[in-house]
């Protein structure tokens, strides 16, 4: 069936701000869908309120509407454009829900817009848990016994019939919101009430809990001709009971026989074909009883999802891109596999490697949160490790997490108290996999661990083998003693040099030196969808220790961009936006653009964005090996947030060229003492401050700068553990708590400018000229983290003098810091006096926002300036302001009901929205402004 030529214009609905359960994976799928539709000559109109996304860039869609995701915005668009069809399957549950709402109001009918990809009945079937259950049963598929409840009474009745343990699943919610496992009868009433209130239809499913069953997910594509292919089968290492977004997952399935897998595949296809009209990507989850191999269907998502983004990165098969074409009417057999370019898209990828996805949590940002994992997703991001064995992939995933781990343990962060460890095995939290290894190291039997965790024994044995390898390693005294064969085994099991060094209690460099002497270097293999059966030229690589290296460096001039790793609070999608634009700029000036990143949700790790993609941890050893192979002309660290920036020191020490601002100058901005000296020299006011190494010093400094003071550890992200304290007693308590949790850190104490206004500037400097990209004024007063503040562009209440002073200080700093590229400066303005709070010599959270608000490709300009190929004067920069733009923070507090929701100096928002207002009489602005003191905490 060829494409439907009556579809000439398509509206794509995005997923809005990043919240837990719906992150940048939808920027990835949306961007792919837009490109895919445009390839077909279709006019694409996009609605999304999230300015930090690539999909909302003018480089992609024909018309971008940065408006709230509501029916009014849809009507506004439909009045302005002739839209033939709407594609609601690319923007997660948010987009599906909005499509349903607009459908119920008759909007689509009114404007003659067709739904493509999925119809409302199919969405309804998968969302209405009772209807879904009945459908599955009618098709002969098993589901867990369950009852639907619309009231407290019905819920209690259902529980009585099913017994405990059971599961409560609210209908129509996101990321398992409101869902819970109930083990004991006495916990049921509260859980039921919560579930009912979370569901927009006041409906929950009370379901028998299949505790300890193994969980699998299948990613499928179905076309209008009912062809179905399984792109990837993903095995959850954590069994049923932990949300798949919070589970460590592995592909291909490791412990599944063909008999069991084919039954699952048959059922998935049957279920999928029973869904009515559907053409695109979908996800289906199964639970399997390990003893009997009995199978039940858990749920279906008739849209691309977090797991389809993961499956795309895991297999190389671009699900969203193909799904968009299927929505236009193409069938799979008419399309080519975009990776091999010669074989068919109607095909099931074969993997000759293992991927391990690990979630990234941010519990430290939600004090008082219940950190136990369960039905409701709590992680904020994820990483993927690729290797030629499960062990290697798992350790690479650990190395990608950006939480200071060097791999799976063997890095001084181990626990040693068996009782504590066993407790953590039974009550899973973010560290369970690490505790599992601790338990094995302490000699806890595999069977005991399996009983407590219900993790498949094969995985436990794999980790046990790591413990044994470590025991064997510890028989050697120095790296020089390790024979080549054993060293190779360690590296193939994913050990970083840093872990080996820790186990031998020697320096990492000694280990690396020995490794290089032995000729053990990483080789790179291609992710090609077909296990090398066919030729493919996709430049998508991962490292391993094996014979053949497939990544042949070109002789072109080349630049490496370091990505920002997993999404987390304080470092999210905005940095991926920056990286993608960096890559575009590098390509534009004719250099080879090489991307390194490990976050499977991102656009930067799409196989055709960079010239070459290394899907590798942002971890020194991996980066060093890539640099060794590629010999790049420079590395860009300004675009990937703090993750990339903190590697600058090592590059500098090793003589690896850093693009743009030099390390010395970046360090000057980062080092509090040196920076303050610089401010003093430049005659720029700054809050009084001091640096303390112990409590006595802290007390002394606090009294000197006078209370209230801002207390924080040095070198953290998003103001972690930053507090405002008002007296000695509070100070002492907080400083002690910082030392307890972050023993390596020093304490910074700043004078807190009460009731000051906050403002910030993003600028580009080429060494001569400074261009001010935007000046933003925060609605909320000082004391709230800039990432949690509503930022208005341009300023709306600051005096002309203050603004001029800010610009002047920015220019002074840009020159003093010899900035080549980006600079972000944060200000406090009190009684019309401007203070500089900090300067960041890199892309900031607000750069994408300004680029969107002013419609200027600032990141590309900045990258070209960094590279030195262009001066600012080469560009004709014409910002197109539309009234005021407001960056509004968005929080995910509903996932943590018991957490204090007050805001303070520690960032807690997960995403952002953009709002355009004509003037200050706008009711949205007035409401924000009216509430500006409401969130303030001490």
């Amino acid at each position: 069936m060829p494409k439907d030529t009556s579809i000439r214009s398509v509206l794509i609905i995005g997923s809005g701000p990043i919240v837990i359960g719906q992150a940048c994976e939808f920027d990835y799928s949306g961007s792919q869908a837009i490109r895919s539709l445009k390839e077909e000559g279709v006019e694409v109109i996009l609605l999304n309120s999230n300015p930090a996304t690539i999909m909302t860039d003018p480089i992609l869609a024909d018309h971008v509407y940065l408006m709230p995701l509501n029916v009014a915005s849809i009507e506004h668009i439909l009045q302005a454009h002739k839209v033939d069809a709407v594609l609601p399957t690319m923007g997660g549950q948010t987009a599906l829900n909005l499509a349903i709402e607009a459908g119920e109001l008759g909007i689509w009918e009114k404007y003659g817009v067709r739904l493509i990809g999925v119809d409302l009945d199919a969405i309804e079937l998968t969302e209405n848990r009772e209807a879904f259950r009945q459908l599955m049963v009618s098709k002969g598929l098993s589901v867990a016994p369950s009852y639907i409840a619309n009231s407290y009474l019905e819920g209690m009745e259902a529980a009585q019939k099913i017994g405990f343990p059971l599961v409560i699943r609210p209908s129509y919610t996101l990321g398992g919101s409101g869902g819970s496992f109930v083990m004991r009868e006495e916990d049921f009433p509260d859980a039921l009430k919560r579930g009912l209130s979370m569901s927009p239809t006041h409906e929950v499913l009370v379901e028998k809990a299949v505790l300890g069953w193994k969980e699998f997910e299948l990613e499928l594509l179905r076309d209008a001709h009912d062809n179905v292919v399984i792109i990837c089968a993903v095995e959850n290492l954590d069994p049923m009971g932990i949300h798949t977004g919070d589970s460590i997952t592995v592909a291909p399935a490791m412990t599944l026989s063909d008999t069991a897998f084919q039954r699952m595949r048959d059922e998935a296809i049957l279920a999928m074909r029973s869904l009515g009209n559907f053409a695109g990507g979908c996800n289906i989850q199964f639970a399997i009883n390990p003893e009997t191999e009995e199978l039940i269907v858990i749920e279906i998502n008739p849209r691309v999802s977090r797991s389809s983004a993961l499956a795309s990165k895991a297999t190389g098969y671009p699900i969203a891109k193909i799904a968009a074409k299927l929505a236009l009417g193409y069938t799979l057999d008419e399309l080519k596999n975009p990776v091999t370019k010669t074989t068919s898209a109607l095909f099931e990828p074969a993997l000759d490697y293992v991927i391990v996805k690990m979630p990234r949590w941010n519990f430290e940002k939600f004090h008082g949160a219940d950190t136990r994992l369960g039905l409701q997703m709590k992680s904020v991001g994820e990483v993927m490790g690729i290797g030629r064995s499960f062990q290697e992939a798992l350790q690479k995933a650990c190395q990608s997490l950006e939480n200071g781990r060097m791999g799976l343990g063997a890095d001084r962060k181990e626990w040693i108290r068996t009782e504590d460890i066993l407790h953590r095995l039974e009550h899973a939290s973010e560290d369970r996999i690490f505790r599992l290894k601790d338990a094995l190291r302490l000699g806890v039997p595999e069977r005991t661990i399996q009983k407590l965790t219900r993790i498949d024994p094969w995985f436990i044995r794999q980790i046990k083998e790591l413990v044994k390898l470590e025991e064997e390693l510890m028989r050697y005294n120095v790296p020089e003693d390790i024979p080549r064969e054993f060293f190779l085994r360690l590296k193939r099991a994913g050990y970083s040099d840093a872990q080996i060094a820790w186990l031998l209690r020697v320096g990492e460099e000694a280990v690396t030196q020995r490794r290089i002497e032995l000729g053990l270097r990483r080789v790179y293999k291609t992710v090609d969808t077909c296990a090398a059966e066919f030729e493919s030229n996709t430049p998508y690589f991962y490292s391993t220790f094996d014979g053949e290296n497939e990544s042949q460096p070109s002789d072109r001039k080349k630049i490496i961009v370091l990505g920002s790793g997993p999404n987390r609070i304080g470092q999210g999608i905005e940095f991926d936006y920056c990286c993608v634009h960096g890559l575009l700029a590098i390509k534009d000036v004719g250099y080879e653009a090489i991307m390194v990143n490990c976050n499977p949700e991102t656009v930067s790790t799409d196989f055709d964005v960079a010239d070459k993609l290394y899907f590798e941890p942002i971890f020194w050893e991996h980066i060093e090996e890539i640099i060794h192979l590629e010999q790049p002309d420079g590395v860009i660290v300004q675009l990937g947030g703090q993750t990339a920036l903190k590697m600058a020191k090592t590059f500098h020490e090793r003589g690896i060229p850093i693009v743009g601002t030099s390390f010395e100058h970046m360090d000057l901005a980062e080092d509090r003492g040196a920076f303050s000296d610089l401010l003093k020299r430049l005659d720029i006011p700054y809050p009084k401050y001091g640096v303390a190494d112990d409590v006595d010093e802290a007390l002394h400094i606090a009294n000197e700068v006078t209370y209230p003071v801002l207390v924080r550890p040095s070198y953290v992200l998003g103001g972690q553990r930053m507090r405002i304290v008002i007296n000695d007693e509070e100070l002492e308590r907080h400083v002690l708590s910082i030392f307890k949790h972050m023993p390596q850190n020093r304490i910074l104490i700043d004078q807190f400018l009460e009731r000051a206004k906050e403002a910030e500037i993003d600028a580009i400097c080429d060494g001569e000229q400074v261009h001010i990209m935007g000046i933003m004024e925060h609605i909320e007063p000082a004391g709230i983290h800039s990432g949690d503040s509503s930022a208005v562009l341009p300023t709306y209440s600051l005096s002309v003098e203050a603004v001029n002073t800010m610009v002047e200080y920015t220019e002074k700093l840009a020159h003093a810091l010899s900035i080549r590229g980006l600079l972000n400066v944060q200000f406090a303005v009190k009684d019309d006096k401007v203070y500089v709070i900090e300067a960041n010599p890199r892309a900031s959270r607000t750069t994408p926002f300004i680029a969107k608000a002013y419609d200027v490709p600032y990141l590309q300009i900045a990258t070209k300036v960094m590279l030195g190929t262009h001066k600012l004067s080469d560009f004709n920069i014409q910002p197109r302001p539309k009234g005021y733009a407001i960056k509004v923070p968005v929080f995910s507090f509903e996932k943590f009901p018991n957490v204090d929701k007050n805001l303070g100096p520690e960032m807690r928002s997960t995403g952002e929205e953009i709002r355009f207002i004509k003037d200050l009489t706008d009711p949205f602005f007035r409401e924000l402004d009216r509430q500006r003191y409401m969130y303030l905490t001490r």
Binding site: H225, D333, F534
Partner: protein
């Protein structure tokens, strides 16, 4: 990762790999080929079509779920040797009853692990199928080369009679509606299961059985099985097939059976560069337009050009969506059809099991005189 003895893999073109011994300690030779399936290793190892082949598994972990006696496609291992990246002696599946290591030892299969299988596959993809030797007894090159030299090339090799049953046997209930005579060139157990499940009783005859012998059992239809080796060396089977066609009996062939059917109507076969082996090969059914994901295992193919020239007699019913090769044919003047791939799957997707239904439909429609 228990330390195992060293082992060596040498290809006919001199390429050398070092690894660790798995399975039986010993030496083995055969044609090297690769399979890209991610599940079903035991079914693959026991598929008689792999007879005489050293198999490279591209899936990087093999052995994880052990072995289970009832998940076999024949009475035992048929592969000549095994090459893997990571071998798991430990398994976790409660339903399994043996570890793969134990099973391979019992089956006498020599294997090697720790190999850069991807590099090896890329090598085979570029250079084509060739003979190879694995040894965990000696790493002396001269010895290995000498043994390798003595290994015959797969082209022109008749292997079906080596894996065929020596005596006829009956599978399925005697009371079944249809009687199928199957010529066993290395038949997979799940083919019998698929036929039996659809109301057939199957009598399995040795490869060298005459048409007349089979006729005495009064079958309603005939089946030509899969199997190893070069169809060009099987004129005996081609002749029997011609007689089945002349009698206008319903006939279904799979894989090697498909190649024999083609040769019986004058369509030549050829040795492919490196064959199709895996569980993800896309095939398009030209009659329905529907795609199917198929399980495949063949190193020889049927000539498309020759079929086009014989389009008055032979119709292409299925094509491979990747390379356009012939995946299925139907004879226009006979009740006979065949496919190159494995509709019985095991291992692999069940998308094409409808072909067994079509065969049974053909039996139902066949005039009683033809039965």
């Amino acid at each position: 990762m228990i330390s195992r003895p060293a082992a060596t893999l040498l290809l006919a073109d001199g390429t050398l790999f070092k690894g660790y011994a798995v399975g039986k300690i010993g030496t083995t030779t055969g044609e090297i080929c690769f399979n890209t399936g991610m599940t079903g290793y035991q079914e693959v190892f026991t598929d008689p079509s792999y007879y005489g082949q050293i198999l490279v598994m591209t899936n990087v972990h093999i052995g994880n779920y052990g072995t289970r006696a009832i998940e076999q496609e024949s009475d035992g291992a048929k592969i000549a040797g095994l090459v893997v990246r990571n071998f798991s002696e430990h398994y976790s599946r409660p339903m399994a009853n043996n570890s793969l290591q134990q099973w391979l030892e019992e089956e006498g299969v020599v294997g090697i692990s720790g190999i850069d299988t991807r590099a090896l596959v890329r090598h085979i993809r570029n250079k084509g199928a060739m003979n190879a030797i694995i040894s965990s007894e000696t790493d002396e090159l001269a010895t290995l080369q000498a043994r390798l030299k003595d290994t015959p090339s797969m082209a022109g090799l008749e292997l079906a009679s080596k894996v065929s049953t020596s005596q006829p046997y009956v599978a399925g209930p005697a009371s079944a509606q249809f009687r199928i005579a199957a010529l066993d060139f290395g038949i997979k157990r799940s083919i019998l299961d698929c036929l039996i499940a659809r109301g057939c009783v199957v009598k399995v005859f040795p490869a060298h059985t005459t048409f007349e012998t089979m006729e005495q059992w009064q079958p309603d239809g005939y089946f030509l099985s899969n199997g190893p080796g070069d169809p060009a060396a099987m004129d005996y089977a081609v002749e029997v097939t011609q007689k089945i066609l002349a009698a206008d009996k319903p006939l279904f062939g799979i894989c090697l059976g498909h190649q024999i059917l083609a040769r019986a109507v004058g369509i030549p076969t050829y040795k492919m560069h490196h064959g199709h082996r895996g569980l993800n090969h896309p095939v398009k059914n030209l009659r329905t337009g529907r795609g199917e994901i198929t399980s495949q295992n063949h190193g020889f193919g049927v000539s498309l050009k020759a079929i086009c020239a014989a389009s008055d007699r032979v119709e292409v019913t299925h094509v491979n969506l990747n390379d356009g090769t012939v995946e299925g044919i139907r004879l226009k003047q006979h009740q006979a059809f065949s496919v190159q791939y494995h509709p019985e799957a095991s291992p692999g997707p069940h998308d094409a099991r409808y072909l067994f239904d079509e065969f049974v439909d053909m039996l139902k429609k066949a005039p009683v005189s033809a039965r």
